[in-house]
């Protein structure tokens, strides 16, 4: 027997298992009562299987673990069997354990005998087991299998954890945290209508679940897809991959759907058939539900390709096709006439492979005018009901079915929302002088935000070469920092060219639907390897759940083996992809946070320095980005003129320069809670990774938190607002092992910089302190976007205020320079930023630190950190040089000049660098109170 087993290890016959199961079942009917008791557990088991069966590579580990599991019970009837196994199969523990499990298995079998795939898919577990022709041996096989299954279940947690850990190492995105996390079960509805269940740690991020699903689907070109959930208003929302799932879903309803998020304008450019197949599934659903409207003829044509893909060639001797065709939904109001037409057209596709049929389907579907258009209800300024459609090319405006306007992405300068208003700022046409803003009313704040997010994502995906980084955490700034976090279409296409695996075989699972509708069995494993389907010879296999059919068994085996292969391959690839992705984004993130050099911005700065911001509307610069930035500047000006405190707070960072902002702050504080209802996005950036000039809204949860904190922290802020500035970029410095180097004497220039502060060159942090300055700069204040917690501790009496200037500033309210602010009393406010989620940004930094120097003089300390990173991943090479200059002084330094000087010098060194951020932290102490 053992020898036999040896020869058959790789090919485990499902059919045998299944029949064995059945035999066992009858045999062990007496044990039913026991089994019933354990039914609940058996249920769980199934779930476990649900996941694991798709992950054959794990089984081995599983098994070895299972061997150590203790046997809990030992039903007498089973003893002989287990003994046999013990003796002959050399896996005593397994078998011993199996007995316990087997009963459960039986329950399972009873419950869902037709769930043949359940056992089919656990195949790998049985691989190493003894294969016997005798019934007993069959049983034992089953037992072992069951053991494995049971074990899977038991170890599910561990496995998940293990996996989670792996992902931590694989990806600096740190999808989940370590150990001791609670697990939750996620239900994901896949495109074929089936459910995928898996467990994730409670604090796992969206990306983790998404990857799990993709892995399950064997999908590599995943960037076109996403997970959705329903918020408690039953609105479909996209799960943000970068955030914890738990924080998004709220209602604790871990129910998701896997959907196409970005419809590729040309599906023929997709690399893999499996991707196209999934896109087809989505589109079939879109068409059938009426979301993607099309004419009668088109319905029929698309339906006929679906039939061809699903059941192969039309065959006259097939069971009457009309019998099943009406089980399928092709159109919202499907008529007999349409079905006839579908069948008629189906005949004409003879010889077409499923993949070809999918291609044809997509070639037609992509031409439909509503292909890939995500519609949102809205009202125009006159209160007329319209629809806003977001798509690859831009924003479409519909009234009923009519397109009444269209704003291509290049025409849009800014996308923003405020409460339930959604605004787009339009680039002026050739003949127009000014840009215009178009506003729409949405149902509520949530829908405005949702629309805004979709716009941001679609723009990023289809228009950018690389995603923009989320604006970094900013002090006292509200608004969403939401940005598209995945790869852009460009990037995903690039990545797709690197896909190097044989076309994976995949189940055309909608045939499951067919079978389901025929015999009511929910989970039927139908593996049509494309080969079979291509010949169109086995359409009935897909239509029936008959698991014993020999042809079918063969199919299963092929499938499993193949998919194993694929999975390994896949793992590797995914790993790489992941790493790559992570490293790139990591790099970018840290880079951004540490104030990246973006050349145009320097120019912008200069422009502002040399001319009045108001007139400096458009400066011809080398890059598109530049132009955009300038336009943004204009935007900013408008905002700051719009004297609404709330708004100003929004535009706080980077737009209002020091003095002006300080002045405003007082008023704005009280209205902060309103202001968080808005966000902006400037979509016109091509390629460049832009910096944080975009004011946005906090995620709601944080909003509240922050609001409270803000009000707490802001109340004491009064007269001496200007006192001190906290640099909020410190965290990067810390993370990036920067070293301090050069100190430069600030050269006094004939001051009077037009704006309270001038200068800029990458990041400059100017700190003037009269008192002891708590190393706020650079070092310890760790800020992570989104999750900042601001704590106020009172003791020392220095009021700390942060002033951040980044290049879009330009408000003209320069009169109130920080230094002019009267220093009245001493208050101390220590503001600490804590990154609630450190995001793992620190790990595996692929960058290389090239130089770092610190030069120190008595009164002034200038720290310059240069961080040069070079990455070569997946054929992409990136070099980034970032420089961070921190000037720390302890007396009356003219920080304006210091900044100007520093910038000047930096500019000399790197002419095409740009200043992305200037932060002034000033702490002032008043003499009176001091003593």
């Amino acid at each position: 027997m053992t020898t036999e087993a040896g020869s058959e290890t790789e090919v485990k016959e499902n059919a045998e298992e299944k029949s064995a199961a059945r035999l066992d079942q009858s045999k062990k009917a007496t044990e039913k009562t026991q089994e019933v008791v354990e039914e609940g557990e058996a249920e769980k088991e199934k779930e476990g299987k649900g996941i694991t069966r798709y992950l054959p590579t794990w089984f081995k580990k599983q098994k070895s673990q299972s061997q150590t599991s203790p046997t809990k019970e030992d039903p007498p009837t089973e003893e002989p069997v287990s003994k046999v196994n013990q003796e002959e199969a050399h896996v005593p523990e397994v078998n011993g354990h199996a007995e316990e499990v087997e009963e459960k298995e039986q329950v399972k079998e009873k419950e869902s005998e037709s769930h043949s795939n359940a056992s089919a898919d656990t195949e790998p577990a049985g691989e190493e087991k003894v294969e016997e022709s005798a019934q007993k041996s069959l049983e034992s096989t089953e037992e072992t299998q069951e053991v494995a299954e049971k074990e899977e279940d038991k170890k599910e947690v561990e496995k998940d954890r293990r996996q989670g850990q792996t992902s931590i190492f694989q990806s600096p995105l740190r999808l989940v945290r370590k150990n001791k996390m609670k697990l939750v079960v996620c239900h994901v509805t896949l495109l074929d209508g089936s459910d995928f269940t898996c467990e994730v740690e409670k604090r796992a991020k969206g990306l983790f679940l998404f990857f799990k699903v993709c892995e399950h689907l064997n999908l590599l070109e995943k960037d076109y897809f996403g997970l959705t959930y329903k918020d408690h208003h039953e609105q479909k929302c996209w799960l943000d991959p970068t955030k914890e799932i738990k924080r998004q879903i709220r209602s604790n309803n871990w129910q998701f759907a896997f959907n196409v998020k970005f419809y590729p304008p040309d599906p023929s450019l997709l690399s893999e058939d499996i991707t196209r197949y999934l896109l087809c599934l989505q589109l079939r659903e879109d068409v059938a539900s009426g979301r993607l409207p099309c004419s009668f003829v088109t319905h029929a044509l698309l339906g006929s390709y679906t039939l061809q893909a699903e059941i192969g060639d039309y065959e006259p001797d097939q069971p009457r096709p009309l019998d099943y065709i009406n089980q399928l939904t092709f159109a919202p109001n499907q008529s007999k006439e349409m079905e006839e037409k579908i069948l008629e057209l189906h005949k004409s596709h003879k010889g077409m492979t499923p993949a070809q049929a999918d291609c044809q389907f997509l070639e037609n579907a992509k031409k439909l005018s509503m292909y890939g258009v995500d519609l949102h209800h809205a009202k125009d300024c006159e209160g007329v009901d319209i629809m806003l459609g977001v798509c690859a090319n831009g924003l479409l405006v519909y009234k009923d079915r009519l397109r009444i306007n269209r704003f291509a992405w290049p025409k849009i300068l800014k996308i923003s929302y405020k409460r339930n208003n959604f605004y787009i700022k339009i680039r002026p046409g050739e003949t127009e002088q000014f840009e215009s803003t178009v506003g729409f009313k949405l149902q509520n704040h949530r829908s405005a935000k949702r629309l805004w997010k979709v716009c941001v994502e679609n723009h990023s995906f289809f228009r950018l070469n690389a995603p923009e980084q989320p604006p970094k955490a900013r002090f006292l700034t509200l608004g969403s920092k939401f940005r598209y976090s995945g790869r852009t279409q460009n990037q995903t296409r690039m990545a797709s060219t690197l896909i190097d695996r044989p076309a994976p075989a995949f189940e055309r699972t909608s045939s499951k639907r067919i079978s389901r509708s025929l015999d009511g069995a929910p989970m039927i494993s139908i593996t049509d390897t494309s080969r079979e389907a291509e010949n169109g010879h086995e359409p009935h296999l897909e239509l029936h759940s008959d698991s014993k059919s020999p042809g079918r068994v063969r199919g299963d085996n092929i499938y499993v083996r193949h998919s194993k292969l694929m999975l390994e391959d896949h793992d590797k690839t995914q790993d790489e992809v992941l790493k790559h992705q992570a490293s790139v984004s990591e790099l970018k993130r840290s880079f951004m946070e540490a104030s990246p050099p973006s050349p145009p911005q320097l120019n912008l700065w200069e422009k502002h320095l040399t001319s009045s911001p108001a007139t400096a509307t458009r400066v011809q610069q080398q890059t598109v980005t530049t132009e955009v930035e300038i336009e943004e500047t204009v935007v900013v000006q408008e905002i700051s003129k719009a004297a609404k405190p709330a708004e100003e707070l929004q535009t706080w960072e980077g737009q209002v320069q020091g003095g002006a902002r300080l002045e405003k702050k007082r008023e704005s504080i009280s209205s902060e809670s309103e202001s968080d209802e808005e966000a902006e996005y400037h979509p016109n950036v091509s390629l460049s990774i832009r910096h944080a000039q975009i004011p946005e809204e906090k995620e709601e949860e944080e909003e509240e938190q922050e609001r409270k904190e803000l009000s707490a922290s802001s109340s004491p802020v009064e007269v001496n607002q200007a006192a001190a500035a906290v640099e909020d970029e410190g965290k990067d410095c810390a993370e990036e092992e920067k070293k301090e180097v050069g100190a430069e004497e600030p050269m006094k220039t004939p001051d009077k910089a037009p704006n309270g502060m001038t200068p800029h060159e990458e990041v400059m942090c100017v700190t003037t302190e009269e008192e002891e300055l708590p190393k706020v700069n650079g070092e310890d204040s760790v800020v992570e976007a989104r999750s900042q917690v601001i704590c106020c501790s009172e003791p020392p009496v220095v009021k700390t205020e942060m002033v951040t200037i980044s290049d879009t500033f330009a408000a003209q309210k320069s009169e109130i320079a920080t230094k002019e602010v009267p220093i009245v009393h001493t208050e101390t406010k220590t503001i600490t930023y804590e990154a609630a989620q450190l995001d793992g940004s620190g790990d595996g930094e692929p960058g290389v630190l090239m130089t770092a120097q610190t030069i120190t003089s008595e009164s002034l300390c200038t720290t310059t950190t240069t961080h040069i990173t070079k990455t070569l991943k997946g054929g992409l090479s990136e070099t980034r040089i970032e420089k961070r200059i921190v000037i720390t002084g302890d007396c009356d330094i003219d920080h304006d000049q210091a900044l100007a000087q520093a910038i000047k010098e930096a500019k000399e060194q790197h002419p095409d660098m740009s200043v992305t951020r200037v932060v002034v932290h000033k702490e002032t102490e008043l003499a009176e109170e001091d003593d």
Binding site: C294, F296, L301, K367, L368, K399, R401, L402, R403, I404
Partner: protein, 283 residues
């Protein structure tokens, strides 16, 4: 059929035309007062039908003129045909509503999927409908309103339907038409150019344009026939010498100048006088 959606722009097999009633001379609607010579008009029309039938080999369905419908020769306004679907319009001019009856019958005869515009608030003239092969533009004019456009959009769900305000001229196609796949022939008047801008802005597709000096000359008929290739029926040099020259730029096109001097007096352009459709063999 495997050709699929949106293939075969300009492929036509049939044309529906209608005779000129004597009442055209005095009763047909017109935007500028002019004397119309019915005999001349009929001669023009005969040449037109001859070109379709003999020169181009289309199956021409000729509906008889009806004296009670002075404008009935302008069949284009009565129906919009795209693919297998024909939308019977509700013409903006009340006097012309009954013109659709004969058209409907003819289209049914040809086995098209006929959709009617029953909404009493809707008006649509076929002359306001520009089909580019990928999408529709519907001019909102004196004759066509939003509701009419909506119903058109409903009838042709595969396509984007964008509305274009028609500031001047009777119809959208009074100053533009298609000259080939992705080629819009456009008049040079300001309203025409403005309309073109709007169309370009509204579209996801890029269109080339051929600007002709005279708006009326921009109304041409484009076909892509299996045995003739690209065909363009356009104005004669006698009518619009400058514009006629422009068409010579279309090297690949078989150019057929057709006189339209009389019909133009009652706002009739070349496209107005026929409804073209493609009856594939397998239908």
């Amino acid at each position: 059929m495997a050709a699929g959606l949106m293939a075969g722009f300009g492929h036509y097999t049939h044309a529906i035309v209608r005779g000129i009633p004597a009442s055209l001379a005095s009763e047909a609607l017109r935007s500028i007062q002019a004397e119309v010579d019915v005999t001349k008009a009929r001669r023009e029309h005969d040449a037109y039908v001859h070109a379709l039938r003999t020169t181009l080999g289309l199956q021409v369905v000729e509906l008889p003129a009806d004296e009670t419908m002075p404008d009935c020769v302008f069949v284009e306004d009565a129906a919009v045909v795209c693919g297998d679907t024909a939308l019977i319009t509700r013409p903006g001019a009340e006097s012309r509503r009954r013109e659709t009856e004969a058209m409907k019958a003819a289209l049914k005869e040809l086995n098209l999927n006929v959709v009617e515009m029953t909404d009493e608030s809707a008006t649509l003239d076929g002359g306001d409908v520009l089909f580019t092969g990928r999408e529709f533009f519907v001019g909102l004019s004196k004759r066509t309103n939003q509701r009419g456009a909506e119903i058109l959009a409903d009838a042709f769900k595969d396509y984007a339907v964008s509305t274009v305000p028609v500031m001047e001229g009777l119809h959208l196609k009074s100053f533009c038409s298609m000259g080939g796949p992705g080629l819009i022939i456009i008049g040079s008047s300001e309203p025409a150019q403005k309309a073109l801008k709007i169309m370009q802005q509204m579209s996801d597709h890029r269109y080339d344009k051929l600007t002709v000096p005279d708006d009326l000359a921009a109304n041409c008929i484009y076909m892509n026939l299996s045995n003739k290739g690209h065909v363009l029926l356009h104005c004669t040099p006698e009518e619009f010498p400058e514009s006629a020259k422009m068409f010579e730029k279309l090297k690949d096109h078989m150019l057929i100048p057709l006189s339209n001097m009389e019909k133009v007096k009652v706002d009739g352009a070349l496209t107005c006088c026929s409804v073209l459709l493609n009856k594939k063999a397998d239908n």
